[in-house]
Symmetry: C2
Subunit: 447 residues, 2 copies
């Protein structure tokens, strides 16, 4: 390597327009994979670009030794499309540094984060000639399109992988400069409900009072999903929910950026909303929800039209928490909707995607190792947080490889992933490189 300035490889990495969603960018995606593989090879790792049915997986590892722990670091080199390009301050694929922030498409999600680990390993190898662990980098090119080929890849390579722990830096810190372990995420269950009334749209003067109105009856049906305290009113919905633990309540109440007022400012609403008896952060991280993501039926244009629509629909998602499963909740919600649907209309429920909730032990051996590494890097305690969203690949990893996954996000909240002016602090990038070094040390230790 001719230079030790870590921004040089970062900016090279960024300039590949590795947009996985758009086949026009396929050559750039392939070139980006090749660049990454070459980088791994130059570091002295055994690096391979595996073709898949879609974009390639880049894998790199040192020579495994049975006396070392095996750490798998997962990331992705593909990025979201840059649209709407006109809303960026600069060019999306030309990194721009301003006030300590690097702006570029993919800088936070995920190139800056994964490259910090790559350069961290490179630095250790350069300085010490050896790593304290067996390292496996698994960097895919299809995360932004739902990792359609990852499951097959993991199954095909299961025997050669066998990690002790998986590290993923593809999330955000709870607040700038606060190292954070995301030890839980909610799962998700999507479904679409369609309700059919009369055979055609009807004139509401000629038939109002005798024709079933799906737009009205669907609204009534959706209203049965919550009780007056905005708890989900589907029988048995909370049966397998793991309660919020006392230590969680205490720790989360002290976290920066997680107060009612913080969230209110972020969502720009008159007030927060939700289930009675839980704080905002508890509702977001540890309580399941039922949400209407879309609703439609009847006249959608300007003004009024005196129609009784023949059909209406609602798109629903349920956020799930441990130990709810998509299958369990799907059956309970379906039974509830069918029970409350009036017999005059016909209900059609289609299943959408589902993903299990994720939880790892924040007090387990590897979590504690990560906490020591964070303290050494940032000089402060690792915040133990959870997230409201869902990362379906975690379940894939857990099912196939069966080990703990530590989500150690390096991005800032407000990093605008998937949005214009995506950004990542220079400092977080540099901290990430240092963190990788001490993290591998701590993971290797027997404490």
């Amino acid at each position: 390597m001719s230079t030790n300035n870590p921004l040089d490889p970062l900016f090279d990495f960024i300039r590949f327009q590795s947009v996985s969603a758009d086949s026009n960018y396929a050559p750039q995606v392939a070139a980006c994979a090749q660049w990454l593989k070459d980088r791994f090879a130059a570091m002295g790792l055994e690096a391979v670009t595996y073709p898949t049915a879609g974009h390639p997986v880049v894998m790199a590892r040192n020579t495994p030794r049975p006396d070392r722990k095996t750490v798998l670091i997962y990331g992705h080199y593909d990025v979201q499309p840059a649209d709407p390009v006109a809303e960026w301050t600069g060019k999306p694929f030309e990194p721009r540094v301003e006030n300590g922030l690097i702006y570029a498409r993919g800088i936070a999600d995920n190139k800056g984060q994964i490259l910090a680990h790559v350069l961290g390993v490179e630095k250790t190898l350069r300085e010490k000639g050896e790593l304290p662990v067996n390292i496996i980098f698994l960097v895919e090119g299809e995360e932004e399109i739902g990792s359609p080929n990852l499951e097959k890849f993991l199954n095909d390579h299961r025997e050669e992988l066998r990690p002790d722990v998986i590290i993923i830096s593809d999330t955000s810190m709870v607040a700038p400069g606060v190292p954070s372990l995301d030890y839980g995420l909610r799962g998700v269950l999507a479904m679409e409900v369609k309700m059919y009334g009369a055979g055609t749209d009807l004139h509401s003067g000629s038939f109002g009072g005798i024709a079933p109105n799906p737009a009205m009856l669907l609204a009534r049906l959706l209203a049965t999903l919550h009780d007056e305290n905005f708890r989900v009113a589907v029988p048995g919905f909370y049966d397998s929910v793991v309660p919020v633990q006392d230590w969680e309540r205490e720790e989360w109440a002290r976290l920066p950026n997680c107060g009612e007022e913080d969230y209110k400012q972020v969502i720009k609403a008159r007030a927060l909303f939700g289930e009675a008896g839980y704080s905002a952060v508890e509702r977001l991280w540890a309580r399941p929800t039922a949400e209407v993501n879309g609703i439609g039926g009847g006249y959608q244009g300007l003004g009024s039209k005196t129609v009784i629509p023949r059909e209406a629909f609602a798109k629903l998602t349920f956020r799930l928490v441990p130990n709810q499963t998509p299958e369990e909740i799907d059956a309970k919600v379906r039974a509830h909707l069918e029970k409350y649907c009036p017999p005059e209309v016909r209900l059609e429920i289609s299943h959408g995607h589902g993903g299990a909730p994720f939880l790892c032990d924040p007090h387990g051996t590897y979590s504690l190792a990560a906490a020591r590494a964070a303290k050494r890097t940032w000089g402060r305690d690792l915040a133990r947080i959870r997230g409201g969203g869902s990362i379906p690949i975690l379940d894939t990893f857990k099912r196939i490889l069966g080990v703990d996954i530590l989500l150690l996000g390096l991005a800032n909240p407000g990093c605008s992933a998937h949005a214009p002016d995506e950004n990542f602090p220079l400092k977080n990038f540099e901290d990430g490189i240092r963190f990788n070094g001490v993290l591998l040390e701590e993971l290797a230790s027997d404490q």
Copy 2:
């Protein structure tokens, strides 16, 4: 007049493509008005084509005599567009006779019906040289676009009109060959409700559980509009409702085409629906409703999107019955919606159009005269019916001219007004001509 075949003038009248909604047809609309005026003049009536801000009004009258009742017959010579033309069996503006039905655009709505009255008067004048009443024909060219200039016309001509009764044949019989007096119609009140939550659409994973969801909260709000018996649950909603009378219950129960099974077949639903305690025909004709005509919010595309929409809307109409007023119901509904709207979201209610319900006395002097005329024409009793829809011009007539309006429809149910293959039976046309003669006699009598 060179011919006494009444189909000749009817077919001439039909061939004018007098589509008021489309300015491309303005010359045809004007030519149709001119043709009608000439017809009136040829009958010996004083006929005038009055320009308006839109299409002209054709008015015709005999020389008024103070010892005669004045009967105003209202109709319209404009028609709906023929679209979708491809769905017609023949050409929309070329009358086609098959199995005793005449098919053409405007044949039922309203050319066949108004021309039956015109030719009825012509026949009486030809045979008797005189009419038993002062007749005023008022035939406008903008009914299909909401009669925007009729109110001004009536106000401007109020003193010269002063009718004793108004006759309108622009509705349908309750069943083929059953003479029908439509003595009541429902009014209408339209409004649009918009609900706003967070400042932007939000990710339902990142914010589900703390963000107010307008798609869900609007559904809950709409669910408060009805109680469990599907009565409208807005406080005071029924305060001024005139109850269904015993004679109405009895007569309506015996009417053809008005049973539960009849309606079920028309609307092609699994079952009828509506307020408990009333028959279908009672709900349709004499009970008010609250309907959702359109609802929308959030993701409308295929599949699912994990979004909490920032806003949602519903388009509502309320059908009103005597003596509800749009103003009264508007205030009550608004107060109800505002009361039940959660404080976390913002509600915006826009007023749409309103129209008062219509009711005339089916046992009044002129209604009884119409019943005698119907018996003489069809040999059977006049069915006293009401309608579920609204005809806003009735209120305009009543407000300005202040007299009874008899709706004596000559079309058949299933006449496909506003739809392809609009039709009108030859027999109804001929019956209508005869009916006009005896109707004017009976209206003139002192019984």
